[in-house]
Each structure stands twice: as structure tokens, then as C-alpha cells.
């Protein structure tokens, strides 16, 4: 009713949620790094999150690299646009698009799957059952997923970087008639190791956030099938938003003004 009270309530809700997620993230990191370790669950997660995401991440990267090459060529005001394509494309892919797009694809695949799976386990009492079997469900379900996603995402991004740059190469060489040596030489000359590592560092943070959001919303879901549906949707949205927000923060740390 009262608009000011409504704004206040909304702010408190949002801040409360951020606080709960932060607590969950800290507990999750502790669970991932301290014994007991559940290696089998870890490797299952690693395969599901890392290996199984390869096709979708690769396709995203190759098309994005190709489209980027066309855009740079089209948008360039300089006569020798050829030389700029690998430079701009390389930095864009490695520093920004590789990590962000790969993370978004993995968030879409995995945050939702984690929230749905853990949520379904919650509403069918499987999490309670785990407690009665002397296994801490938080450690068994959350720890391995966080560890696996945090490790898998930088590796996926490294592959996405290579494939993205290769997509740009294909378009430049076969469509825009740029000589392969020019593309390769300019690329190598212009990209530093720091460009790549900053992207991989971002990916590590994104991977952690993806798993935290998926596990958090799944773990606290309630209310049957519709509750699990809500958890799934909220997890993907929260993961995507947190990826964009942390991407800005991390980018501003890496860039010297």
C-alpha cells in the first residue's frame, strides 16, 4: 500500500537474499575444500558440467568469432581493416566474450540442472534420507558441484578462446580474403598472456557463481513441482545476472585507466 514501505521491504528482501547467498557461498567453498571428499560425485559432476558442455560452448564460440570478424571488417573506417581484425577480435574474445558467453551457456545448462536435481531431491525427502545415512547432504551435493564447476569453466573458456579465434580466422581467410600469415602474426603480436589469464580468472569466478546459484536455489526449494520450477528459473536468472555484475567488477580491476 504505502509505496515507501514497499520500497523498504523490497530492499530488505534483496539484501537479505544477497546475505543468505553469500553465507551459502562461503559454506559451499568450505565444503568443497575440506574433507570428507566425495571424489566419485566430483568426477560425475566434472564430466556432466565440463565435458558435456563442450559442444554448446564450442558452437557458441565459433559463430561468435565469425560474426565478430564480419562486424569489425564492416565497421572499420581504416583502409587496411585486415590488420585490425585479428587484433580486435582476439582481445574481445579472450578478455570478454569467451568467458562471458561460455559462462552464460554453462549457466543455462548447469545452474538449471543443479537447481532442478537438488530441488527434486529436497521435495522427495532424498536430502533427509542422506542425513539419516550419516552423510552430510550439503557436503555430498554442494561441495563436489562447486569444485567441479570452478575447475571446469576456465578449461572450457580456454577451449572457447581457441575456437572463437579460429572462427574469426575462417571468416577472415575464406570470406574476406585476408592472408593467413597476416591474421596469425597480428594475433600473436597483439595478444598478451595477461589477456588470456585475465579471462581465465574471470571464468573461475563465473564457474563458482554458477554452481553456488544452482545449488542455493535447489537446496532451499520447497513446495513440490512448482517449487522446483521456480528454483530452476531463479537459479538461471541469478547466475546470469551475477556473471554480468562480477564481469564488470573484474574488468574494472584488470583495466588501467
Amino acid at each position: 500500500m504505502n509505496p515507501i514501505a514497499a520500497i523498504g521491504r523490497l530492499s530488505l528482501d534483496v539484501l537479505g537474499e544477497i546475505g543468505r547467498i553469500s553465507n551459502f557461498a562461503i559454506e559451499g567453498a568450505v565444503a568443497a575444500l575440506t574433507p570428507p571428499y566425495f571424489w566419485r560425485a566430483f568426477f560425475v559432476s566434472l564430466a556432466r558440467i565440463g565435458f558435456a558442455s563442450l559442444p554448446v560452448v564450442g558452437l557458441t564460440a565459433i559463430f561468435t568469432g565469425g560474426a565478430l570478424a564480419l562486424n569489425i571488417y564492416e565497421g572499420s573506417i581504416f583502409p587496411n581493416a585486415d590488420a585490425f581484425i585479428p587484433q580486435i577480435l582476439g582481445v574481445s574474445v579472450v578478455r570478454e566474450l569467451g568467458p562471458v558467453l561460455a559462462a552464460l551457456m554453462v549457466a543455462g545448462r548447469c545452474s538449471s540442472a543443479m537447481a532442478a536435481e537438488i530441488g527434486a531431491m529436497r521435495v522427495t525427502e532424498q536430502i533427509d534420507a542422506m542425513s539419516t545415512l550419516s552423510v552430510n547432504p550439503f557436503k555430498y551435493l554442494v561441495g563436489p558441484r562447486i569444485l567441479a564447476t570452478t575447475i571446469a569453466l576456465p578449461l572450457l573458456v580456454l577451449i572457447a578462446d581457441i575456437i572463437g579465434v579460429y572462427g574469426g580466422y575462417l571468416v577472415s581467410v575464406y570470406l574476406l580474403d585476408i592472408a593467413p600469415p597476416i591474421y596469425i602474426n597480428n594475433l600473436i603480436e597483439f595478444i598478451d598472456a595477461e589477456d588470456v589469464t585475465s579471462g581465465l580468472l574471470k571464468a573461475t569466478v563465473f564457474g563458482f557463481l554458477i554452481a553456488v546459484m544452482g545449488c542455493y536455489y535447489g537446496y532451499r526449494s520447497a513446495g513440490g513441482a512448482s517449487g522446483v520450477g521456480n528454483a530452476t528459473r531463479t537459479a538461471v536468472v541469478a547466475a546470469a545476472v551475477s556473471i554480468f555484475a562480477s564481469n564488470y567488477v573484474l574488468t574494472s580491476l584488470f583495466v588501467d585507466f
Binding site: 522427495t124 525427502e125 533427509d128 542422506m130 542425513s131 545415512l133 550419516s134
Partner: protein, 264 residues
């Protein structure tokens, strides 16, 4: 302490969810090796009582003593103490659907006791045989099983580490009468075989008569009657009588006001 010591003692246990007072001071004992069946209608607080003893819900007040140790404070050590000697058969089975049947049965052995997979699998197949399931079932996923088989696997998982205490949450709900009887027989047989203390909750009177050494009726968060299974038919308590006979008319009025206005 010359009396046979109670395995589980509950004193003055209360639990509320907001304005909803689910448990209003429960006092009950279960002697070592005995089987207590708690009967009561939907929403009478049976599940909350069971989950409080298990350490899945933290009670507001009162004591829960297991082997004389008060576990109502709900600390991690308390929960480990209870879980370490408990097996529970969940109403819906609560089998882990991402794992094979034998991995379900051996879950505690594999993940809590860290036994090798080969030995754990042998133990799991042994437990499956005890509940009448063939070894081939062990390699299936829980979703490939019928309701009755899922209950059996749940029972096998509950007994896999020879627990001192067994809990059964509506063990026969959703099963046909014959399969219900099979599960009841298995429960009686297994509880006797491992000498466990058992607490079951049910509203299936046939099941209660079969598996109980003692029956307690829960109504509106309190124990209103206790007696042997043979006393159920002449309990002298109008509420127990109504429940046992399954009549809509009587002192117990089903609470339907959350959904509709009372018509009578």
C-alpha cells in the same frame, strides 16, 4: 535402574510452526527391542515427531533421550550420534534416483564408512536378498522399480548397517493389500532379526496390528492413548474407537477450515 532401560525417552516435546502448534508436549518411552506404532490422522503431528527424533527438525522444547543422551539440542554431534545407529524407511522411498539400486543400499557403507566398492556391493546384495530381491535388481535404477520394490529397496537401505533403531514412515501407504502384508512381514522379520528398537507411524490399522508391540495414538499434538495392539478394539477411548473403525462421525473432527468453511 533395575527397570529394562528405555532406548528412547521423550519428555515434554513441543514444536510449533508459526501459529500452528504441531506437537503440544509429547511424553513417550520405547523400551529396548520393542516396536512402537504411532497412529493418528493426517496432520496430527506424526511426521514431525519422527523427524524431531531423527534430528531433521529441531524441537522448540522438551527432551529426546536416546540411550540416555539428550539429543534435542540438535548439535552436529547429536545428529551424528542418532544417525549413526538409525535406519529409516521413508514414505516415498526417498531412494537416490541418480544412483543404482545397490549403490542406494550401500550408500552409508560407501560414503560414510568408506568401505571398498566390492565389499559394499556384496553387503548390499545380501540386504536385497533379505527383502526378497534378486541380485539383478541391484544394477537397475530406482525409477525402473515398482512401488512395492522401491519400498523393499528402502527397507534394505535402512537395515544395511544393522542399526539399533529403525523408523518407518507410513511403510504401507500406496501399496495394494497383499504387498502391504509382504512389507509388514518383512518389517517384523527384519526388526526381530537385528534386534532393533522400532518406531513406525501409520494410519493403516492392519499394518499397526501386525508390526506393533505397543500402539500410541497421536491427536492434535498429544498422545491420547497407549495400549497393546490387541486393545485397539476395546480401547475405551471414543477417539481411538472412531479412528480404528474409520468413521467420519465422532469426537474427532477433521480440520478442513484451511480449505473450506465447516459445513456442519
Amino acid at each position: 535402574m533395575s527397570e529394562p532401560e528405555a532406548k528412547i525417552e521423550i519428555r515434554g516435546l513441543t514444536k510449533s510452526f508459526g501459529q500452528n502448534h504441531v506437537l503440544r508436549g509429547i511424553d513417550i518411552d520405547v523400551a529396548q527391542g520393542k516396536s512402537l506404532v504411532i497412529i493418528g490422522g493426517s496432520g496430527s503431528g506424526k511426521s514431525v515427531l519422527l523427524k524431531s527424533i531423527l534430528g531433521l527438525i529441531k524441537p522448540d522444547r522438551g527432551e529426546i533421550r536416546v540411550d540416555g543422551r539428550n539429543v534435542a539440542k540438535h548439535s552436529e554431534a547429536d545428529k551424528r550420534f542418532v544417525a549413526g545407529q538409525t535406519g529409516m524407511l521413508f514414505q516415498g522411498g526417498a531412494l537416490f534416483d541418480s544412483l543404482k539400486v545397490w549403490e542406494n543400499v550401500a550408500f552409508r557403507l560407501l560414503n560414510a564408512e568408506r568401505r571398498p566398492r566390492g565389499a559394499s556391493k556384496n553387503k548390499a546384495l545380501e540386504c536385497l536378498a533379505q527383502v526378497g530381491l534378486a541380485p539383478e535388481v541391484g544394477d537397475l535404477k530406482p525409477s525402473e522399480l515398482s512401488g512395492g520394490m522401491q519400498k523393499r529397496v528402502g527397507l534394505a537401505r535402512a537395515i544395511a548397517s544393522d542399526p539399533h533403531i529403525l523408523f518407518f514412515d507410513e511403510p504401507t501407504t500406496g501399496l495394494d493389500p497383499i504387498m502391504s502384508d509382504v512389507i509388514n512381514n518383512l518389517i517384523v522379520e527384519r526388526v526381530k532379526a537385528i534386534g532393533a528398537t522400532a518406531i513406525s507411524i501409520t494410519h493403516d490399522m492392519a499394518s499397526a496390528r501386525k508390526i506393533a508391540d505397543e500402539v500410541a495414538m497421536l491427536y492434535q499434538g498429544q498422545i491420547i492413548w497407549r495400549g497393546g495392539p490387541d486393545d485397539l478394539d476395546n480401547s475405551g477411548n471414543p477417539m481411538v474407537e472412531q479412528f480404528v473403525r474409520g468413521r467420519a462421525e465422532g469426537p474427532i473432527q477433521m480440520q478442513v477450515r484451511r480449505y473450506a468453511k465447516k459445513s456442519r
